[in-house]
């Protein structure tokens, strides 16, 4: 079973790695995350990961620490075993996504500053800037509303 799906797993890891990379992480971070996604069992030691991915210890260490800093990965330990068993932390994954979707940077605030600083000689241009700001604010509100909706939905289920 493991051997039959091993190739598929590797391919999946590559594809997921790229997707995570596009979300703004380093390539190695994406691969480490991906390896923990497909891993069966879902927890792996430092050098399980290193061997599976064939990358250096420093890359694994940096990646795991980056992921742990964002609470996307944590680890367990077993009695009488010095190793740490790293595993995905799904709640951390979800809050990471919330963060990424949610606050759209300083842009709206900066755009407001722009409009304030502009002359009123080109009202049509200023109006379209205001509309852009309006759109961003609207989306921010809608998104945080959606997140709350999701959370109350989850609360009801439990």
């Amino acid at each position: 079973m493991k051997s039959t799906s091993a190739r598929h797993a590797k391919e999946l890891v590559e594809k997921i790695g790229i997707a995570v990379e596009k979300a703004g992480f380093q390539p190695a971070v994406g691969r480490v995350l991906a390896s923990l996604l497909v891993s069966d069992p879902p927890y792996r030691t430092f050098d399980d990961i290193q061997r599976f991915l064939g990358i250096s210890k420093s890359a694994v260490s940096t990646a795991l620490n980056a992921l742990m800093a964002r609470e996307m990965v944590d680890y367990i330990t077993l009695p009488g075993d010095r190793k740490r068993y790293f595993q995905l932390a799904a709640p951390g994954l979800i809050s990471q996504m919330k963060r990424k979707i949610g606050l759209h940077s300083a842009l709206p605030e900066l755009l407001r500053e722009v409009v304030k600083a502009r002359s009123n000689k080109y009202p049509e241009f200023n109006r379209s800037l205001l509309e852009t700001i309006e759109f961003i604010s609207f989306m921010e509100k809608e998104i945080s509303a959606a997140i709350e909706k999701w959370e109350t939905l989850k609360l009801k289920k439990s």
Copy 2:
């Protein structure tokens, strides 16, 4: 007036440039975009931009073409004037944002593949993966609903 706010404008351009850069563009692209935001008048020639930013022609050319490819900038021409006057295209800006918010690549699809490929030996892990997928799908739906809401809102206003 222009001279008193000139410094403020330059600072704003830098700050906006960085914000745009963080959104995944090259530094020079961010600055060109920003310079068109604060520019009064809102349209500028190629070498207005070059002189204002103090960067090379190639950088300006590449940046403008990148922005035009995404329809975030366009240009007008004046009769008997060979120059192009570049300006921000607010609708393009907004649709660019829609695309960027409108989410998140192949990830949910890949996660579904992961779940399918996984054994059922660790049901709790699989369950939490499913919840993550659910969250992403939920947010995608909510976001596109919000965008539609915005669009009908805009239609009514006109």
